[in-house]
Point group: C2
Chain length 141, copies 2
DNA sequence: ATATTATGGATGCATGATGTCCACAATATT
DNA sequence: AATATTGTGGACATCATGCATCCATAATAT
């Protein structure tokens, strides 16, 4: 029940890019500024590209750039690009492995936790996580 | 970011006991009714005992019983007995390993998620998770 | 005395997160 | 065309942890 290092890397990379959305950033640059192992960062960027969060340019002076503006990138998108669908317990999605599914009494609770988490991640954008943005909880639109 | 099997085992064991709080239940009985590996269940019960959630009796006709009434056992207690303190990210508790701690912009978000989760687990009792209890989200006191 | 049950510790195993390496494709520059 | 740079894709290595088992021992009811 913890934020993975990988997700942290992803968010840090994106906020770094988001602070100057116009600029193109190479993996090397991101890696150095954010202290992320270069070869691992490659894997992470791949997922963000596939989900259409960033676009990539190959070749000299290549690199990455945000596909949308920071305020249009939801933290939920990033989360799901890295971790896959948000799912608190397995039995809520997969085909009913659990013998107790029908009578399970804790499911509603985890579902509640999950929905609450989704709502927060859905309401938080990259914009909210940029250095500039002051007022951490209050987001004046 | 998922509910561990172990926590699921713990909750299932407790709800099983909670359905008849008067009765004493042996590991064997719990294990069989809830499909939990006996030797693993032993480890789990140990943690619940240590946290004062259940008490144990050794010897023939021994077993476990709840220490408090179901409505006095918070899901948060159970969670913490199994998983330890609720912590979404490491840097929020340990002594500042992260280089970016001061300037970290995602911390507030995870903190928000964490608080929201804590609130739900704090407000949910074992009573809410018993078979009898109908009205999954509405808890009429 | 015996059978039953929990306790505590050591250990095994599998899975997944994290990280590395390398050959290759794309492309800007010369 | 040649070269250097950068991302891509896959295989592989490493390590931690969740899950599980086993066994010797302590407690205790009969």
């Amino acid at each position: 029940m913890q934020v993975s290092k990988t997700l942290d890397y992803a968010v840090r990379s994106l906020t770094y890019m988001g602070n100057d959305p116009v600029l193109k950033r190479s993996m090397k640059e991101i890696s150095e500024h954010q202290h992320i192992p270069l070869s691992y960062l490659a894997k992470i960027m791949r997922r963000l590209v596939k989900k259409g969060i960033v676009r990539s340019m190959v070749g000299p002076d290549g690199g990455y750039a945000l596909r949308r503006s920071p305020k249009e990138i939801k933290l939920r998108d990033v989360y799901e690009a890295i971790e896959g669908e948000i799912r608190m317990v397995d039995c809520m999605d997969r085909d009913n492995i659990c013998v107790f599914y029908d009578s399970c009494t804790q499911l509603p609770v985890w579902d509640k936790v999950q929905m609450s988490m989704i709502k927060i991640l859905e309401d938080t954008t990259l914009q909210d996580m940029l250095s500039k943005s002051r007022g951490k909880s209050a987001r004046p639109n």
